[in-house]
């Protein structure tokens, strides 16, 4: 055996063992030292994905090592959430949270819990829904629709996307506030719902407004009411739910969170970067064009947690009514 080679190898080994941890210590001092990953628990191109990417565009110039979006669809929004909860709490993995995670928190089978396993960074958007029917529907006002629904329990058929999820909750809870029992028919996507309403196969849907606006403005669809406390600037003739005497203003929210236990200074750093990204002109233009600025979306970490707790309590009640939770 060549002795020199042995020594050389031993030296190399010693260097590798000694040098490894040393290099690590130095780099750990300044965060972030690599790209931050934003996990979107839905497929690319959807509402959550577009929103996350719009924020990420604004974050890119602020982070030296960049930021990447990873789409992790599957199991509602469970798969992505589970993934983030299994990563180290080092602030390198951020979860794009949506209302469906809050709903998951109510269900007994939940695999990761948004309140217990995550720390909210901030809420970024609070979307507005509307009650949508076809442009040639016999229902011209919300009153007529509610009247019909009260006289014919369960005959009013409304489309939505996620059974036991946000779409069903907002449809059923809205009509329950109005004293109407509605039949909820789940479809796979917003596109299918719109086609079903336009084709006269179903009465209508309670849906986020931004996507349906062009069809409403063209007269193909009709909004009977917007679900918030004031009128929608793009639909000045459509009354708000509060105006119609319904105390119901819930809406889809989007927020960002990190795994619980992430060092506070890293959370603060991330929050600062996100806040700056939310002021980026590209993002401001994006939310304006998509009418996501109709009501203020931003909430700080504590307020977001409080808001989540309240929403979860509300969802628990609705899901109990629907029989999803005992």
């Amino acid at each position: 055996m060549n002795r020199t080679l042995c020594f050389a190898l031993a030296g190399l080994l010693a260097f590798a063992l000694g040098g490894g941890p040393c290099a690590g210590n130095v780099a750990a001092a300044d965060y972030p030292e690599r790209a931050i990953e934003v996990v979107v628990p839905f497929g690319a191109g959807g509402g959550s994905d577009t929103a996350a990417r719009a924020v990420v565009e604004g974050m890119k110039p602020l982070l030296k090592h960049g930021v990447v979006v990873t789409n992790m669809p599957g199991g509602g929004a469970t798969k992505g959430m589970l993934h983030v909860s299994q990563q180290p709490a080092d602030g390198y993995t951020v979860l794009a949270v949506t209302t469906s995670h809050l709903i998951d928190a109510v269900k007994p089978k939940t695999r990761a819990h948004i309140l217990n396993d995550f720390d909210p960074l901030c809420r970024i958007q609070w979307d507005t829904s509307g009650v949508i029917v076809s442009g040639d529907s016999k229902f011209k006002t919300l009153e007529e629709l509610i009247d019909y629904g009260k006289k014919n329990p369960k005959m009013l058929k409304f489309a939505g996307t996620s059974p036991g999820g946000w779409s069903e909750i907002q449809t059923v809870a809205f009509f329950k506030t109005a004293g109407v029992q509605v039949t909820f028919v789940p479809f796979d996507s917003g596109a299918e719902i719109k086609a079903a309403i336009l084709g006269g196969h179903i009465h209508g849907a309670v849906e986020e407004l931004a996507e349906t606006l062009p069809l409403i403005q063209a007269g193909k669809l009709r909004a009977l009411c917007v679900i918030m406390d004031k009128r929608h600037p793009a639909l000045p003739d459509v009354p708000s739910s509060v105006e119609c005497g319904l105390n119901y203003t819930h809406g889809l929210m989007r927020a960002w969170a990190v795994k619980k236990g992430t060092p506070p200074e890293r959370q603060k750093f991330l929050l600062e970067v996100i806040r700056k990204a939310l002021e980026n002109p590209t993002y401001v233009k994006y939310i304006k064009e998509n009418h996501l600025d109709v009501r203020p979306g931003y909430l700080g970490p504590q307020e977001t947690r409080k808001y989540w707790e309240e929403e979860i309590a509300f969802f628990a009640e609705v899901l109990k009514d629907l029989g999803y939770v005992k």
């Binding site: 690319a44 059974p163 028919v185 789940p186 996507s189 596109a191 086609a195 069809l215 063209a218």
Partner: protein
């Protein structure tokens, strides 16, 4: 009208737009050919590069990738037997069989010409009849979707090869696979064994890569050290080009498939894959010339599927541009692209931005021609791959399959599942159970079940709701005939199993 299109052509042919279309088409072809990158993923990956481009340039780039993706699926399907896209599964079944008979070059050229023909046909159809297609598509409610899927499933008899019993066995196994995952109506988990991987159901690409491609490698591996059967000398363009008489012989398929493709492409719940299977099934059902060849290299099946999946692009774009409703996953990505550039696709787009709408129409024509030129040039190159010995070739295919299955969701579980399916596929082949009906059922099963249950929810539980519209009644009748007719005609088929 001519003036509008003249202007549109002038805009589309501007150097920056032309470059964008070529790049988009190239990227799309690549994404389409690789099983791990779907067309919609391909479009998403370049979406973020379009933020800074001019709206028209951005859109033609993405449309280029879309059309390229749908077209590119055929390349790997024929040469390697791996479906690059779900919509090219019928192409694997027929095209790869042809390649193994040494007819790879002819299959490639037929696939390419049919693809482009289907694409162009649907663009012209869409220019002439946008409101007609949109109105017809809207008449499809849950009951009609159900009837459509049943018609699709009824084709099983045509795909079963010898034994109808084995065909139905395979079909019902596929239907069972389709029930795995979260129930779309109640949100209940079915057959997921508490795993997260199966919550979204059996991933379609994972199943078909395992069942079709890997199981075939296992079969071939039983015969060691042989040369690849598909090895051919490429003769020259003129000898390899399919004769016009081929298209004249199958004129009905050539007309019918793009129409099916365009209409099914416009249905938001369906899309290119279902379009390809329906057209393929129709071709199998009505095959006059060589019905026995289906499943073993029928050029007519290849033609039908490729015409239809490319034609679905026109249908999908029609409903997107006229109503703002994305007819497929990929066009849903295009909605995002429109919104990035401050436009909302919908009924108002034509009056607000006619330049964009007509620009996209003309760009689709140009892109189809570009695809013909690009792929046509590359066919010879692709065929060189066939000269590799099968031992090397199959290893490369296996790597592609594994990476593809893993790449869909970056999931090791999906990869494992792919191997499970390859074993299932291997034993199915060993026992002479055809794989095609299983895949057909997996594609259609979910939609069939959900639309049936939706239709019943809407009709208050009455099954009469399923046949109350003329469209669904006609489709269901067609399904009934195609299931019963072969039983009457050849009762021996059942006995022979």
């Amino acid at each position: 009208m001519l003036e509008i299109y003249g202007q549109a052509f002038a805009t589309v042919l501007l150097p920056q737009n032309l470059i964008a279309m070529v790049l988009g088409a190239l990227w799309g072809l690549l994404a389409g050919a690789l099983p791990g990158i779907s067309t919609s993923m391909g479009v998403v990956l370049i979406l973020s590069f379009t933020y800074t481009l001019a709206p028209m340039t951005a859109l033609v780039l993405l449309v280029g990738a879309y059309l390229g993706g749908i077209t590119g699926g055929g390349i790997t399907s024929i040469l390697f037997g791996i479906p690059g896209e779900p919509s090219s599964v019928p192409t694997v079944i027929e095209g790869h069989a042809l390649a193994k008979q040494g007819k790879a070059a002819a299959a490639m050229w037929t696939y390419l010409l049919c693809s482009i023909f289907g694409g162009l046909f649907s663009v012209l159809f869409m220019i002439v009849a946008t409101p007609l297609i949109a109105d017809f598509a809207l008449r499809f409610g849950p009951a009609e979707y159900f009837a459509l899927t049943i018609l699709g499933l009824s084709v099983v008899s045509g795909l079963s090869g010898g034994s109808m019993l084995k065909g139905f066995l395979s079909c019902f196994f596929g239907l069972f696979l389709a029930t795995i995952g979260t129930d779309g109506i109640t949100g209940e988990e079915r057959f997921t064994f508490g795993t997260v991987t199966l919550l979204g159901g059996v991933n379609f690409v994972v199943a078909m890569v395992g069942l079709l491609a890997v199981s075939e490698i296992m079969m071939e591996a039983e015969e060691p050290f042989k040369e690849y059967k598909g090895m051919v000398e490429y003769r020259g363009l003129l000898e390899e080009l399919p004769r016009f008489s081929l298209f004249r012989k199958y004129w009905l398929t050539m007309i019918r498939s793009p129409i099916i493709g365009t209409i099914v492409g416009a249905l938001p719940g369906a899309g290119a894959t279902i379009a390809a299977f329906l057209a393929y099934g129709e071709a199998a059902r009505t095959a006059k010339h060589e019905p026995a060849k289906f499943g073993k290299g029928a050029i007519e099946g290849l033609m039908a599927a490729e015409c239809a999946n490319n034609a679905s692009t026109g249908g999908s774009m029609t409903i997107l541009l006229s109503l703002g409703i994305p007819g497929s996953n990929t066009t849903a990505m295009l909605v995002a692209a429109f919104m990035i550039h401050g436009m909302q696709p919908g009924p108002l787009l034509l009056s607000q931005r006619p330049d964009i709408v007509y620009g996209i129409f003309t760009a689709m024509i140009v892109i189809n021609l570009l695809l013909l030129a690009i792929t046509g040039t590359a066919i010879r190159l692709f065929l060189q791959l066939n000269r590799l010995p099968y031992s090397v070739f199959s290893a490369a295919i296996l790597i592609l399959c594994v990476v593809g299955a893993f790449g869909i969701n970056n999931s090791v579980d999906d990869m494992m599942l792919m191997f499970v399916f390859s074993l299932i596929g291997y034993f199915m082949r060993k026992f002479g159970v055809p794989v095609a009906p299983c895949i057909l059922a997996l594609v259609l099963g979910d939609l069939a079940e959900l639309s049936l249950r939706r239709a019943l929810l809407l009709s208050g539980g009455s099954p009469l709701g399923l046949v109350s519209s003329p469209i669904s009644a006609v489709l269901l009748l067609g399904a009934l005939v195609s299931i019963v007719y072969p039983l009457i005609k050849k009762p021996k088929m059942l006995a022979s199993s």
